[in-house]
Every structure is written in structure tokens, then in C-alpha cells.
Symmetry: C2
Subunit: 341 residues, 2 copies
């Protein structure tokens, strides 16, 4: 467990409550790791190797959120993102960043009834998690001068693209047999060409799966005009980052959006986290919605092969969402969902 | 005039109709250039230097859309984008890619009344047009093998960022005095740092302008949950590409979205084009909506200092939108708007 900053510890506590309730008290051994902005402010440590080694022993990791309060000018930009979150994703080879988007009955969408009436919104984004612009390659020369140049390099390998595309097709066969590739190959011709060719090769092995392609800009249009058209979207790291926030907004907000940073081989522990951030403005008040974290627990259970338990958690969340009314405290939401299991 | 492919020539014809109607028949001398996918298929030429030299003599360029029919496997990916559209943007140093988004009365939005009720949606995106991932730097090694690596390099200069950020602030002073920077500086720390520092420096010169910052993923959430919060958004080339399609979808669809590829210095002709593509599936049937092109003509007039004429075109489009009912032919829409001038 990495509670992290802001509302992180509060929502993780509810995730753990539901986890214990569904598998039975005492079945899961948990270790809490204090990491994040405030830990760094107190200790100067972001993610010590010793902690990384301990985390490597876990079956799975549940993370709340990391991120300093907006006023904290002492935390350099990217310190926690690159040094903690992305370091974990890379160290544990989380090449599948799985983000389901479902418009649950009872949740509020910014879309009009004309759009939501087009069909059920239920898709997953399989976001590549270890390559692209996220590798951190690039640099700055002549910084702070009028001659400054800053570069960012997107690195994409056949190895990295093939494994995540294959994962997307496998997931599609357990869903509605449709995969949409999202890229921008008309401008990013090198990376786009690689993605397109590998996508076509893998697709040929799955004749039962229907495929299509959208440029990332066009994909945002479909996400607000006809999101029911999607089943599985596979895309690169940055496009996936953007599309999954939009998808979360469309399906009830980031208060409900769960995610898994998955290493399908099991060689390393996978990590589950809500898509939302640490929301320092509402921290410590027991007003954050822990549902995204609880749905992340469902993904965690599913990943560990506890599919029946995962389904029970999801069903309890659905029942709770349908009943929701008024403002409840963070702990009350966790209690309610645990009681519905 | 570059009609281009698909519906391009049809919508450009209506743009020209309205242009002639507002400045007076015979005032504007137009030259038509046949460029695009079908021109390439017939001649093997994308954009000959001689045509580029002729275009350089124009006061402004109006472009419809370029792009082959989906079946046309002979047109390599990126050929027209890199070889024509981006070549023009780069050759004529169109560093301001201006994309206004306004929810006009009478146009259909996919957003719910709860969202549109939050306030008037009327913002512009100032997208950088000459740098970032669009520079075309990158490559492929070991292509087609399991060891393939593809790279894309985003190049950002202080020179390039400063001029577009300054343009955004200037525009804000003629609007509601608010500028939002959109980037992803927590992951793209090199380019993001450059954008942030320059943004802060320029902002200091405009004390009357309120500023804020959003990560690109969060910006997509606000675009669907509270688009009324935006006045001027300034962002890099790729983020701008993505956000402006989403913004167009939110404000009535890409059938209404106009854009200007602007060189503010006037050293080169600026180019105006609808955000939509060539839509080959509906080409030649007179069913495309020319409104985005007609609004692009308004941007063209405004850029040339004909602000009164620009305002008249925009007013006529607004009046037409408010009256619209039933299906009209492409030419009928142009006639109706011209008659309303
Ligand atoms: C915090 C940031 C590094 C992260 C990302 O960009 O992946 C976040 O936006 C997410 O989507 O999990
Ligand atoms: C066609 C393509 C090169 C272009 C872009 O990416 O800029 C288009 O999407 C646009 O937004 O004008």
C-alpha cells in the first residue's frame, strides 16, 4: 500500500477495507509505504532502492495518489512523477496500463442524452506504459537564454508495441471482439508506421476481431459524440494518458476511474491506482470519493486470478452507485460498498 | 485557393462566394491551385517549388482539405500531410495556428444542458504551428524486424515558444484577459520547463491578464465539464491538434470549426482552412456543410485588417445558424449566408 499524498491515504484505506471484506479479514498481508511529496519534504527521499526491493516482493501494489499541494514550490516539476510513479511503472515493467471506462447507471455524465442514448458505454483503453515520450529521453541546451532548445524523444520498439497490442487483442476476445488503434501516423510517420504495421500483423492472428484506426484528434471527437462505438482502444503512452482522462470525464468523472499498471507475465508486481490525483484542496476532510480506488481493487483481484471476488466488488460498487444520494463521508462510501458485497 | 480533395473544392467555392459578396465582386483576384491526393495520383507532384513560389505572392490562402479516399493504398501515410499541409505551414512560418471555438446558438453540442448552462462557451486556441513533434525529426532502424526502433523528436525553441505565447497574450487583451497554458510538464520536463518559464516571463508583461496552467489530460476534462472557463488557450503543436478537435466537437462539430495558419508579421501569406478533412465518402454530392470554410474566410478578412467585413460574415453565419432547419445543399448554405451579409 502506498497511500501517498492528499486524499491518497484516505481512499486507500477504503480500498483496503473492501479488499479485506471480500477475501476475508487477515487473508491479505499488507505493508504500508510512506512515499510521496510530504515524505520527500521530510526526508529528501523519493523512492529508495530498499523500498523498491521490498515492493518487488509484493503480489500487488495499491497506490492512492502522489503530488504536492499547489503552493509547494520546493517540489521540482516531475520529481514525483518521474522519480516515483514512472519509476515504479518502468522498474516493474508495467507495459499494460489498463483503464476501463463504463458509464454506470446512476453516475453523472457531461454528455447529452442524445449521445448516451446511442448505446451502452463500456470500453477499455490499453495504454502502453513503458515507452513513447515517457522514456524521459531529451534535454535542454542554452537553458534560460533566448537561444534555448528543449527536446523530448519518443522511443518506440517493435518489442514494446507488439506485446501491448497482443494484450489488447487478447482482452478483446474476452469482450466484444473489437480493437481500435489510436495514433497520429499521418504526422508521426516513424512511430505511427511501426504501430500500424505491428497492429496489422497481430490483427491477422485474430480473424474474429474487428479492427479500426483513428487519429488521436479524431478519437477525442468520437469519445464525446459516440463513445458507445468503442470496445478496446490500444494506443501509445501519451495518447493513452490524454484519452483516458477524457474517457473518465465522459463516464462519470475521475472520481470513478480505476486503473491497473500491469505486468502480465507476473515477473513483477502489478500496481493499481485511481486515475485521479492527490486533490490536496480536499485532503483530510473525509469528503473524497473512494470509488475509483475500490474499482482499482477489483482490477487487482482480477489480475491475481480472483475473478469471482473482482466481480463481487464491481457488483457492490454498481449497487451503491444506483442507490447514492446526498453527500457521504469517504469512510461511509467504503462501509456501504463493503456491506453490499 | 487550394480546393484539394473530396469536399474541399465544394466548400472552398462557397467560401469564395461569401468573400466576393462581402468585399464586392471582382475586388479579390483569385488563383486556383490543383493540389492534393488526386493531383498527386495524376501527376506524381505534391507541392512543386514553382507553385510554392506562386502561393508566396498571395495576400492569403484559402484551403479546403487534402486527403485521399480510404481505399487509396497508393498514397503513402503522411505524404500530403508532411509534403503539402505542413510544408506550407513551415515554408510560410505559420507559427500561430488559430482556432476559435464558440458554441453558436442553434448548433448542436454533445454536452448536457448542465454543462452548457455553466456559461457562454467562447474561447480560442492558439496552437504553436512550426515546432514540437511536427518538425518531422526522428527515424526508424531495423524496420520490419522484431528489433525495430522508431523515434520521434519534439523540438522546442525559446524563439518559437516566446513568439506564440506573446501572440496569445496579445489576443487575450482584446478578449477577456485570460490565458491558460496547456502542456504536460510533469512528464515532458524539458519542453514543459521551457514553455513554463517563457509563459511566466511573458505573463509578467501583462499584469491585467489572468493566467493558469493545465496538464493536457486535465484540459480535456475541463473541455467537456466546464468549457466556459476558457478564454485563450496556448499550447504546443500536438496538444493543440488534439484539443482543437475536441473543442470543435464540443462546440457543434467540425462542420463549424474554422482555423487560421497565421504568420503575424505578414512576411508570408497566412492560410485559412476548415479544421475538418476531405470527407471523401460525401464528396461531390453537395451535402457538405461549408460553414467552417466560410468562418475561415472571416478569419482571413480579419487577418488582412478587414475587421468590419469579418464581423459581417460572422454575423451572417450566426443568423443562418439560428434559422437552420432541414437538409440544405452545400451551395444553398453559401447562398443563404451571402444573402444575409
Ligand atoms: C501523474 C502522471 C505522471 C500520470 C501520467 O501521465 O501517466 C497521470 O496523469 C496518469 O495518467 O496516471
Ligand atoms: C492533417 C493533419 C496534418 C493536421 C494536423 O495534425 O495539424 C490536422 O489534423 C489539423 O489539425 O489541421
Amino acid at each position: 500500500m502506498i497511500g501517498g499524498d492528499g486524499i491518497g491515504p484516505e481512499v486507500v484505506a477504503e480500498g483496503l477495507k473492501v479488499l479485506d471484506a471480500v477475501v476475508g479479514e487477515g487473508v491479505v498481508t499488507t505493508t504500508h509505504h510512506d512515499l510521496g511529496a510530504s515524505h520527500w519534504q521530510r526526508t529528501g527521499e523519493v523512492l529508495p532502492d530498499s523500498v523498491l526491493a521490498e515492493l518487488a516482493q509484493a503480489d500487488a501494489i495499491l497506490l492512492g495518489a502522489v503530488g504536492a499541494a499547489p503552493g509547494a514550490t520546493d517540489v521540482p516539476s516531475g520529481l514525483l512523477e518521474r522519480g516515483l510513479l514512472l519509476k515504479l511503472r518502468f522498474a516493474f515493467d508495467h507495459y499494460v496500463n489498463l483503464r476501463p471506462s463504463r458509464l454506470f447507471p446512476g453516475s453523472v455524465t457531461p454528455l447529452s442524452p442524445a449521445v448516451t442514448g446511442k448505446g451502452e458505454i463500456d470500453f477499455v483503453v490499453v495504454r502502453e506504459g513503458t515507452e513513447g515520450l515517457y522514456v524521459g529521453n531529451g534535454g535542454v541546451v542554452r537553458a534560460g537564454t533566448p537561444a534555448e532548445i528543449a527536446t523530448e524523444v519518443s522511443i518506440n520498439t517493435a518489442y514494446g508495441v507488439e506485446r501491448v497490442v497482443r494484450d489488447a487483442f487478447e482482452r478483446a476476445t474476452r469482450r466484444r471482439n473489437k480493437v481500435t488503434l489510436v495514433h497520429k501516423h499521418n504526422v508521426l510517420v516513424h512511430a505511427g508506421g511501426l504501430w500500424q504495421r505491428i497492429f496489422a500483423t497481430v490483427a491477422a492472428e485474430y480473424p474474429q476481431v474487428t479492427t479500426d484506426y483513428l487519429h488521436v484528434d479524431a478519437a477525442t471527437i468520437f469519445l464525446v459524440q459516440d463513445p458507445a462505438r468503442f470496445d478496446v482502444i490500444v494506443t501509445d503512452n501519451l495518447f493513452g494518458d490524454i484519452l483516458t482522462d477524457l474517457a473518465a470525464a465522459v463516464t462519470g468523472g475521475i472520481g470513478l476511474a480505476a486503473s491497473g499498471n500491469i505486468n502480465p507475465s507476473g515477473a513483477y508486481p502489478s500496481m493499481f491506482e485511481p486515475v485521479h490525483g492527490s486533490a490536496p484542496d480536499i485532503a483530510g476532510q473525509q469528503i473524497a470519493d473512494p470509488t475509483a480506488t475500490i474499482l482499482s481493487v477489483a482490477l487487482l483481484l482480477d489480475h491475481l486470478g480472483l475473478t469471482e471476488e473482482a466481480a463481487r466488488v464491481e457488483k457492490a460498487v454498481l449497487a451503491d452507485l444506483a442507490e447514492r444520494s446526498g453527500q457521504r463521508r469517504t469512510g461511509e462510501v467504503g462501509d456501504a460498498i463493503a456491506a453490499l458485497l
